[in-house]
Every structure is written in structure tokens, then in C-alpha cells.
């Protein structure tokens, strides 16, 4: 875990995805080779933050993991943001292990809650978690053309009528 990179990314996080890049570019990159392990951690985190219910979709139903994988590959999302997401999930697992001697994915619901609430008390943890929650809202309520909000599950649940016209495949934002 590159702790320095995580902290630098956190401290520079602003209102948009862009600002962190200048800061992170000075740090050595997080290795993405362990992405599959990180995906398991992300899945556990997402399903805790946005759980599935009978009448209301959760992270699983809106394909939050698939959406994450697209964001990580999106050519217009800057590398600093990608690294920031990945550094944060590594940090979460480290915090979990330090507190419980278990990885985050091995924890019970209540133990996960405890770890996350502890993480929330730190400035960097708070900002990272807030970014993750905003990411989940994007996956829940963005246009399905970007890979989240599967079958318009988020829109249907919240009875949101999208504005028209909706984006076409060849007019997704990164193609404009």
C-alpha cells in the first residue's frame, strides 16, 4: 500500500475528479496487478454502503462493480482519480486488518460497519468514503449506457423520469 499516495490524493480532493491529478502525478503509482483482490473488497464495500433489498435495488442490482471497472478504464477519467480509488480500498483493508486482524471481506456486517465508522473519523478516510458514496450515486442514477443503473433499476425505484434525448452510444461524453 502506498500510504503517501493515498494521503496526497485525499488532501487534494476537490469538487471534481480533475484536481487530484496534479498532486498524485508526483507520487509513484499504485500497482494495479492486484485488481482482482481489490474488486472483492470493493464488492463487499459497495454492498455494505448500498445493500440490496426486496423492493429497492442495491449495489449488486445496479452493477456497481461493472461500473467501477468501466470508470477505471474510462479514457477521460484522469489517472490520479483511478489511483485514488485503488489506494483507498487498499487503505480500507489495512485499517480493517489493523483493527480486527481480518481482511474487510472476512468481516461480519456489524464489524464492517465499525471499521467504516472508524475510517470516517479520519480526514482522509472521510473524504474517500464520501467520494465512494458519490460514485455509487452515479452508478445508481446515471444513464445505463455507461454500465451502471442496470435495466434502469435506480430510476425505476426512485420513479425518476430521465430527461430526453438520452445519450446515444456514439455520443457518450468521452466521444464528444
Amino acid at each position: 500500500m502506498d500510504r503517501r499516495q493515498f494521503l496526497i490524493g485525499i488532501s487534494a480532493l476537490g469538487f471534481t475528479l480533475t484536481p487530484i491529478s496534479a498532486f498524485l502525478s508526483k507520487a509513484s503509482p499504485v500497482k494495479e496487478t492486484n485488481l482482482s483482490q481489490q474488486v472483492s473488497s470493493f464488492r463487499a464495500l459497495f454492498e455494505h454502503l448500498l445493500p440490496s433489498e426486496q423492493e429497492a435495488p442495491g449495489a449488486h442490482e445496479i452493477n456497481a462493480i461493472g461500473y467501477l471497472q468501466w470508470v477505471l478504464k474510462d479514457p477521460k477519467v484522469n489517472n490520479a482519480y483511478r489511483l485514488f480509488l485503488l489506494a483507498g480500498i487498499q487503505n480500507l483493508d489495512e485499517v480493517s486488518f489493523k483493527q480486527t486482524r481480518k481482511h474487510f471481506i472476512e468481516l461480519s456486517h456489524d464489524a464492517r460497519e465499525k471499521v467504516l465508522r472508524a475510517l470516517e473519523t479520519t480526514t482522509e478516510g472521510y473524504r474517500w468514503l464520501k467520494e465512494i458514496l458519490e460514485f455509487l450515486m452515479e452508478a445508481l442514477l446515471g444513464d445505463p449506457i455507461y454500465g451502471g443503473n442496470t435495466g434502469e433499476a435506480g430510476w425505476k425505484w426512485l420513479q425518476h423520469v430521465p430527461g430526453f434525448p438520452r445519450p446515444l452510444p456514439n455520443k457518450r461524453y468521452f466521444l464528444l
Binding site: 487534494a12 480532493l13 476537490g14 469538487f15 471534481t16 475528479l17 480533475t18 484536481p19 491529478s21 496534479a22 498532486f23 455494505h48 454502503l49 448500498l50 445493500p51 433489498e53 429497492a56 477521460k76 477519467v77 484522469n78 460497519e113 467504516l116 470516517e120 472521510y126 468514503l129 464520501k130 458514496l133 458519490e134 450515486m137 452515479e138 445508481l140 442514477l141 446515471g142 444513464d143 455507461y146 435506480g154 430510476w155 426512485l158 420513479q159 425518476h160 423520469v161 430521465p162 430527461g163 430526453f164 434525448p165 438520452r166 445519450p167 446515444l168 455520443k171 457518450r172 461524453y173 468521452f174 464528444l176
Partner: protein, 553 residues
């Protein structure tokens, strides 16, 4: 010579020049920094419009530096790639007008003579304009026709004098909640009126009418109903055969000769190659920050401190818009499911354009209060819920229940209050000495500070608006004012006036020191008025176009 007129920027300040002169048969070249997007590129896509940087530059490649005052009294400068505080608006053909909400207001006769009407204000550089409302009125009327403004004239104490009886287009379809607003205002003794919109209610002028999707602000219009500079003017300018638009042309220097006249605009094209346009007259309209920056970057033999900057006033007396905000919750259970409709609220109060309140002493300049439902964009609404009122993060089932309440149980109505952003010595644009953009050019540094009067008036107006929401029966009504600027409303920095020692531009918006240079975005404004000023920028640019024609003749 490549053209009669070279226009730099294609938004509200540049497009009327291009349209008017091309229509009159003059050859015009428009250099626009951004791409040429059209209705076929605009979708109701929240990622494109607000979650990603689709229509504005990457802040790492093109930052600004913002200087603010710390509690210690020291000024601290921070590049925007670190803070994320974004001062860019709509870099594309048509500029920021592509993404405006289209609520349009004329200024009023007293906005042109703030100093003589209200007297000096401590620590503020208020002044009268060198022209009167009557000079601009014919062009306000012209904008109604050429841009396509819909509305209904309603008599009220501060209604502006008009040369025409009514708007050329009737109001857009209005939301049923307007009846409740009107009733509440009447009960309170307030004179509410219909907000003019730069939105066509039906198809005309080769543009389609409004589709009532409810996504005006921040979103490009897919029908062309919104009166963007691109849809309403640039497209028509090009069809004359006399106007060429060069998108993705970043002008980095205006070259001037030994006599002080501008002879060429140098720009980088899409490939980063340096190109040049030579013309008889140059018009700068890059939005106020970038206009000041370009002039300051353009030193010449007669302009050692930057173009037109002998007075050292380029970038000074920079303006945003003062004001306040508020909101109230309207539940479907109490007000009905019809609240979900996306027709327009279109309601404004200007009862306190002059505040005559014994607690305030002599009459003071007040402002405008507008009403509207919160933007329907769902991600923006949802992200406000991930943090509770105590600053604790919300997730799991509590977050889901909060989402259900927010989306399924009702809707927020919002109020926006606008007042003069008083010009003063600590709000200005200069060049940063260290930070450069991707072309290696010094970026604009903006010192941002507000005059305390902005806050006082903002609070006053916002609380009046909140009275209406309460009278309507809204729940959770709040109102407030903040000093931070709305970065989508910017003006000043090249104030016009009769005295070359106290102003950058003459009354025709021609640089005092440069006879073939005009500035036609909001930079010319010495005071900003107490209402959003896009209509005024359009109108003034049409006015200046007439002076340019005279000069060319």
C-alpha cells in the same frame, strides 16, 4: 488582410458582433477556443454535463489561480487544479450561453446611475455608466426578437420602460404551482411577475420549440429552443456567407504595431500550430477573466503593460453577482403529484430593487428574487444525501430511505437572489507569475473578495423570498447569503467610461488607447446591476456592432 473583423470568442459578447457585421456584408472570422458542438451533441447526460469536464478545460492543463484572504489577513493563492474551484464556463461555439438556464432580465435605468442615485459606498468603486438605459433599450428589444425571448409584460413598481408593447413570444408553458406562488405573493402584498426566458415556446426561426425536459441549466439544448449565441446567432451568421468560425483556436496574443493598433491575432489551432488572422478591427469577448488575461498577455511597443492597459485598470473592478439562496420542501401529499411536471415556474420578485426600509436608513440598492424547482438531475440530488446535517456520512438503509423521501415524497423549490457585486480594490484579475497552462502561457490569477454590503443585501432578499415559500405552506424553509462568487456570472475588468484615466474602454466599448480594438463581453460593465446580466451583454454587443459598422464605413 484576412477579414474586416476578427472576433475572439463566440458567446453572448462575440456572436452579436459576428451576426450583425456578417449580415451587413463585412467579412468576419470568429476564433473560438472550444469545439463546435451542435444540437446533435447535446443529450440529457448528467455525466457529460456536470460529473465530468466535457465542456470546460481540464484544470490541470488550464488552471486559474485563485487568491483569497485568510483569517490572519494574509492573501493565499491556490491553483484550481488543487482546489477544484472552477472558473471556466462553456468552452465551445456559443460559449456559456449553451448552458445557461435562460432566465433573462433587463437592467433598469437606476442600474446605469448607481453612484448618482445612491451616492458613494465606503470601500466600493461604484460609478455611473457612460450611457443611459435609453441608449440600450432598442437593443434589449432587438435581443428579444433575434435571440427569441418569451414572456409577458406585467406592470410592477420597477418594470423597465419598453419600446414595444409585449414580448415577441408568449411565455413557455407554466407549472400549476405558479398559482400558489401568485396567491402567496398577493397575500403578502408582493408584486410577482412572469420571468422572461430566452427559450422558444414553439418552433420558429429555424429552431425547434422547448421540449420541457426540465434540464436547462448546465445542459446544452437538444432542440435549439434555448437562445444560445450559437443556435440564435452564429448559425445564422455563417449562412450569410460572410462569417467563418474557426473552432479550437486558442488566441494567445494580439499583436500591435508601433502606432498602438492591433494588427494580428495569433492563435494555436487544434494541432497546436501557431496561426495568424489579420483584420481591420479586433473584438475581444472571451468571458471576463480570459479577456483580461489576453489583453495583459498582449504587450506591444505602445502597450508595455498589456494591451489597452495604460490606465493599469485592465482586470480591475472585477464583478460577479452578489445575492443569496433559499429553499423549501413541497410534499406530493400536500401539494399533489402534479409537482412532478417539468414546465416552467417563471416567477420573479423585484419589489426590493430599491430597499426602502427604515432599518436601512436612506434607500439602498436591492435586487431580484427568482423562484424555481431544484434541478431534476438525479445524481446531483442524490449526492446531497450522502452526508447528514451533522456532517456524518450516511450509507446503508438510512441512505436508501433518505433517497426514497427525496425522490418519492416531494420536491424542493429554490429561491435565488441577485444583487450588485460591488466593485472594489480586492477583486481583480492579473497574470500569475508561476503557473502556466499547457501552452506555456501565464494563467489568470483572480483575487476574490466580496464587499460586506453584498451579504447584507443578499440576506435581506433571500429572507423575503423565504417569506413567500412559508406563505405557500412549504416545509423546512431556509434562506441564506454567502460571500463566495457564482462563477457562472462574471463581468467587469475592462470598465467603460468617458475618462481614459479611470476606464479601459470608451462609451462605445472601444479601447481608449487602441482605436481598432473593442471588448464586448461582460468586461465593459462598471457595475453589474441587480439581476443576471446575459441579456445586457447580448444587447450591448448589438449596440457596439453598430459603432463598428460606422467605423468600417
Amino acid at each position: 488582410m484576412n477579414a474586416d473583423v476578427c472576433v475572439i470568442g463566440s458567446g453572448a459578447g462575440g456572436a452579436p458582433i459576428a451576426f450583425s457585421l456578417a449580415k451587413a456584408g463585412y467579412k468576419v472570422i470568429v476564433l473560438e477556443k472550444g469545439p463546435w458542438l451542435t444540437e446533435q451533441d447535446f443529450y440529457k447526460d448528467e455525466l457529460a454535463s456536470s460529473r465530468r469536464r466535457t465542456y470546460v478545460p481540464n484544470l490541470k492543463e488550464e488552471p486559474h489561480v485563485i487568491e483569497t484572504k485568510e483569517e490572519t489577513g494574509h492573501w493565499t493563492a491556490r491553483p484550481t487544479y488543487g482546489s477544484g474551484w472552477d472558473f471556466w464556463n462553456g468552452n465551445c461555439v456559443g460559449g456559456a450561453t449553451n448552458f445557461m438556464s435562460g432566465s433573462f432580465y433587463r437592467l433598469k435605468p437606476i442600474d446605469f446611475r448607481v453612484l448618482s442615485t445612491f451616492g458613494p459606498i465606503d470601500d466600493a468603486n461604484v460609478t455611473d455608466w457612460p450611457i443611459a438605459y435609453e441608449d440600450l433599450e432598442p437593443y434589449y428589444a432587438l435581443v428579444e426578437r433575434e435571440i427569441g425571448i418569451s414572456g409577458k409584460v406585467v406592470s410592477h413598481p420597477y418594470a423597465e420602460p419598453r419600446s414595444t408593447e409585449n414580448f415577441p413570444y408568449p411565455p413557455t408553458q407554466e407549472h400549476p404551482i405558479n398559482q400558489t406562488i401568485d396567491k402567496a405573493c398577493t397575500a403578502l402584498g408582493f408584486k410577482v411577475f412572469s420571468t422572461p426566458r430566452a427559450i422558444l415556446p414553439f418552433s420558429t426561426m429555424g429552431r425547434e420549440g422547448c421540449s420541457y425536459s426540465g434540464y436547462c441549466g448546465s445542459y446544452g439544448c437538444a432542440t435549439g429552443a434555448k437562445g444560445s449565441a450559437r443556435a440564435a446567432l452564429i448559425n445564422r451568421a455563417v449562412t450569410t456567407g460572410y462569417c467563418e468560425v474557426r473552432p479550437q483556436a486558442m488566441v494567445y496574443r494580439l499583436e500591435s504595431d508601433g502606432a498602438g493598433k492591433v494588427v494580428a491575432a495569433h492563435y494555436f489551432d487544434k494541432q497546436g500550430l501557431s496561426k495568424t488572422v489579420r483584420a481591420k478591427i479586433f473584438v475581444v469577448a472571451c468571458q471576463a477573466i480570459e479577456t483580461a488575461r489576453l489583453l495583459l498577455l498582449s504587450e506591444g511597443p505602445k502597450h508595455p503593460h498589456g494591451l489597452a492597459n495604460g490606465s493599469r485598470l485592465v482586470g480591475r473592478n472585477f464583478l460577479f453577482a452578489g445575492g443569496g439562496s433559499g429553499s423549501g420542501w413541497f410534499s406530493f401529499a400536500k401539494f399533489g403529484e402534479h409537482l412532478r411536471e417539468n414546465t416552467f415556474i417563471n416567477r420573479t420578485l423585484q419589489d426590493w430593487y430599491v430597499i426602502k426600509d427604515s432599518a436601512w436608513g436612506p434607500p439602498q440598492k436591492g435586487g431580484t428574487i427568482s423562484f424555481g424547482f431544484e434541478h431534476p438531475a438525479p445524481i446531483a440530488r442524490a449526492t446531497t444525501l450522502v452526508e447528514d446535517s451533522h456532517g456524518k456520512l450516511r450509507w446503508g438503509k438510512p441512505l436508501k430511505r433518505a433517497l426514497e423521501r427525496r425522490f418519492l415524497k416531494g420536491r424542493f423549490m429554490e429561491i435565488e437572489a441577485f444583487c450588485d457585486w460591488l466593485p472594489h480594490d480586492h477583486c481583480y484579475v492579473t497574470l500569475d507569475k508561476q503557473v502556466k497552462d499547457k501552452w506555456g502561457l501565464p494563467v489568470a490569477k483572480i483575487r476574490v473578495a466580496f464587499h460586506p454590503r453584498n451579504l447584507q443585501v443578499g440576506w435581506y432578499l433571500a429572507s423575503r423570498g423565504a417569506e413567500v415559500l412559508k406563505k405557500m405552506g412549504a416545509e423546512d424553509v431556509v434562506s441564506f447569503a454567502v460571500g463566495s462568487p457564482p462563477t457562472n456570472l462574471m463581468a467587469g475588468g475592462c470598465r467603460f467610461g468617458k475618462n481614459p484615466h479611470t476606464s479601459v474602454l470608451d462609451p462605445d466599448c472601444r479601447a481608449h488607447e487602441v482605436p481598432n480594438l473593442f471588448v464586448t463581453d461582460g468586461s465593459f460593465m462598471p457595475t453589474g446591476g441587480s439581476a443576471p446580466y446575459t441579456w445586457t451583454i447580448y444587447a450591448n454587443a448589438f449596440r457596439v456592432a453598430e459603432h463598428i459598422k460606422t467605423q468600417l464605413d
